[in-house]
């Protein structure tokens, strides 16, 4: 035992634990502003983040990004490009006559993207394709007069893309990939068409199938033979709920620092009560806060999201497991908060340190960037972030539809983290105040 040379009777400890819990509850409910921040801000965060991220999860995107297009070609290819861009439903095409004008509008941040189609692109492509096709056919001896076509050098053409410098790399990559794919398709179709013409076939009855032969299909986890389709809510509710749960370390550490500053902690040190009991009262109350936070955020996901046009969260059959994960995540966060409050001396130390620590743990845990895209050494560090354990457990339940056994390692780690942090806090306090 740390504080008692003669063990206290369990009933006496329970009485003190109850008194500590009741006191903490009173302190919390007397601070209405604090309660509002604890419960409203995480919900607000969840709503805002989900609204912002929703479009990236939608399969049919109803948001059109305005794109400037300068058509210097005015031929078959540019017509094709414009048609494809329009059909993609992702872009709203705004034609501009000058490249300079488009460039200026994009580089000033007015638009995110400008596409400049070079002069004579259609004609040059046609010439190049014809040249290649004739070359191939002559090798097979099918060309009637292979010497009649002089081999002229056709300069390469480039479609220029201008991006707003503030545009995110991921957006740039997806646009570049999309345009690359579209250009390849146009080139392929031109080649097929040229072959058809050279072979003297009727263009109205295509002999080549220009559609992709190889396709792909995403196979999703199923529940009751129905696919579980991930949406922004299914991803955001667990991630940001966990973020909010861990933010409890800020008010909790402040609570402990306040006890030190207002002298009540000094009095408690002279009272026959051990530090573990004092921390126990705080743990019970703040664990309740975490579970209420979690409930409110689930309610937002289930009821509010569909009402404001966002995809709702499906928790059917998952609630008990979700609460188990929330419970242990809450414990881990509380352990960290109590340790921080024990070590720090002022609110100026605990509040900014706690807030920054949560952001770091969230980043390491994969709340913002998935762990698998992190550098190797960061992936290793990520594995020791309690937020990563919590997030993986939430994803297991929400998206992977797994059983309790699968989340057992993660919740065990969360519990272990709580026990270790509490133990360190108690030992630190004991060493600091030893007599």
């Amino acid at each position: 035992m740390y504080f008692w040379h003669k063990p206290e009777k369990p009933f006496a400890i329970m009485h003190k634990l109850w008194a500590s819990t009741y006191k903490e509850m009173l302190l919390l409910i007397r601070d209405l502003g604090g309660i509002a921040i604890l419960f409203i801000m995480p919900m607000l965060l969840l709503i805002v983040i989900t609204l912002v991220q929703d479009s990236t999860f939608k399969t049919i995107n109803d948001i059109k990004i305005p794109v400037l297009l300068v058509d210097n070609d005015k031929g078959e290819v540019s017509k094709n490009i414009i048609e494809n861009l329009s059909e993609s439903n992702s872009f709203e095409i705004l034609q501009k006559s000058s490249e300079e004008e488009a460039k200026e509008a994009v580089f000033s941040g007015e638009y995110q993207l400008a596409i400049v189609i070079p002069e004579n692109l259609s004609a040059s492509l046609q010439k190049k394709v014809d040249q290649n096709v004739e070359g191939i056919l002559s090798k097979f001896g099918l060309e009637e007069d292979s010497l009649t076509v002089a081999k002229v050098v056709i300069p390469q053409k480039e479609v220029r893309l201008y991006f707003d410098p503030a545009t995110q790399v991921s957006f740039k990559s997806s646009v570049k990939n999309g345009i690359d794919k579209m250009i390849s398709k146009i080139e392929t179709q031109s080649i097929y068409k040229a072959f058809q013409t050279e072979l003297g076939e009727d263009g109205a009855e295509p002999i080549f199938d220009t559609e992709n032969f190889i396709s792909f299909k995403e196979i999703l986890p199923t529940k009751n033979n129905a696919e579980i389709i991930p949406n922004s809510a299914q991803h955001n509710v667990p991630a940001w709920t966990l973020f909010a749960i861990f933010f409890i370390i800020v008010p909790l550490s402040i609570n402990l620092v306040k006890e030190k500053n207002q002298g009540t902690f000094v009095r408690l040190r002279t009272n026959p009560v051990n530090y573990a009991t004092v921390l126990g009262g705080k743990t019970i109350v703040y664990l309740g806060v975490c579970l209420i936070q979690f409930t409110l955020m689930l309610l937002v996901g289930i009821y509010l999201f569909p009402a404001i046009g966002l995809p709702g969260v499906d928790v059917s059959g998952k609630l008990p497991m979700l609460y188990v994960v929330a419970f242990f995540s809450g414990l881990a966060a509380i352990g960290l908060g109590l340790l921080l409050g024990t070590i720090t001396k002022t609110q100026e130390q605990s509040a900014p340190f706690g807030a920054t620590l949560v952001v770091i743990l969230a980043a390491l845990g994969g709340v913002w960037v998935p762990v698998f895209v992190m550098p190797k050494f960061m992936q290793s560090i990520s594995k020791i972030s309690p937020m990563n354990w919590g997030l993986e457990a939430f994803y297991d339940v929400f998206l992977r539809n797994v059983g309790f056994a699968k989340i057992l390692p993660e919740i065990s780690l969360l519990l272990l983290f709580f026990l270790v942090t509490i133990k360190i806090a108690i030992i630190y306090n004991q060493k600091k105040n030893a007599v």
Binding site: F3, A19, L26, R30, V266
Partner: protein, 247 residues
């Protein structure tokens, strides 16, 4: 009741000892005043006696027990009224006392009755359900005192219990402390109010620079100090008139 042997305390980084080789004996039933200028070592001494500070060297026992071996028993035996208010400002007086009383293992009706009786004695009954944040300094001092005596300690340590309070509050506090002493509580207290100490304490020790300069019964100390008419004269004669500012 309290036996202090060669007790010393030197803070980390400090050049001088805050308390140096201090020896003192406080008998059961005494009201012992620890007097001294600012920075003399009074609060340091009380903090060591109440387990808030670890002595650098030396030892002490209270009722024959020491903190190393009988921490729990000693904490139950003693009461402390710190210089700070040490109350939760958003809790009412009753809630504060209920919590601190519970930490001594008092519960239920016994606790409620004890709180109400003490609030009555201290003239705070009608403010029992008001948050202590709204209390005056004198009212907070009185609640602070109750929090230290709810469990009826055998030894009560008070660090400047009447500092910054009005005459009426001071009167109530001193009267109740006298009553507790008559009931058998040994009291050790620090104060800057020498007039108060002269009439309240059965014994006093004047401490300066961490050492006891003189100790005894107030009236005898006055008698033995040439030209002294009261305890303040003794105090000034023993500690000098130089200012004792420290930071």
């Amino acid at each position: 009741m309290i036996q202090i042997n060669q007790l010393s305390k030197k803070y980390k980084g400090a050049e001088e000892y805050a308390v140096k080789n201090l020896n003192l004996k406080v008998e059961e039933g005494e009201i012992y005043g620890l007097l001294g200028p600012n920075g003399a070592g009074k609060t340091t001494l009380i903090s060591m006696l109440t387990s808030l500070l670890k002595p650098t060297s030396g030892s002490f026992t209270i009722n024959g027990l020491n903190f190393k071996e009988h921490k729990n028993q000693l904490k139950q035996l003693i009461g402390i009224v710190p210089q700070e208010y040490a109350l939760y400002p958003t809790l009412t007086a009753f809630e504060n006392l209920q919590y601190f009383g519970s930490m001594y293992g008092i519960k239920g009706e016994t606790l409620r009755k004890s709180i109400n009786e003490h609030l009555e004695i201290m003239g705070l009954s009608k403010f029992a359900n008001k948050k202590t944040a709204t209390f005056s300094g004198g009212m907070k001092r009185r609640v602070n005192l109750i929090a230290g005596i709810l469990h009826q300690p055998k030894v009560l340590f008070l660090d400047e219990p009447t500092v910054g309070v009005d005459v009426q509050s001071k009167n109530v506090i001193i009267d109740h402390l006298k009553f507790l002493n008559k009931q058998g509580t040994t009291i050790v207290y620090t104060s800057h109010h020498l007039n108060e100490a002269e009439f309240f304490c059965t014994h006093v020790a004047i401490i300066d620079n961490g050492e006891i300069i003189v100790k005894g019964i107030p009236s005898e100390l006055i008698k033995n100090q040439t030209g002294a008419n009261n305890l303040e004269d003794v105090f000034l004669a023993q500690t000098g008139k130089a200012l004792r500012d420290y930071a």
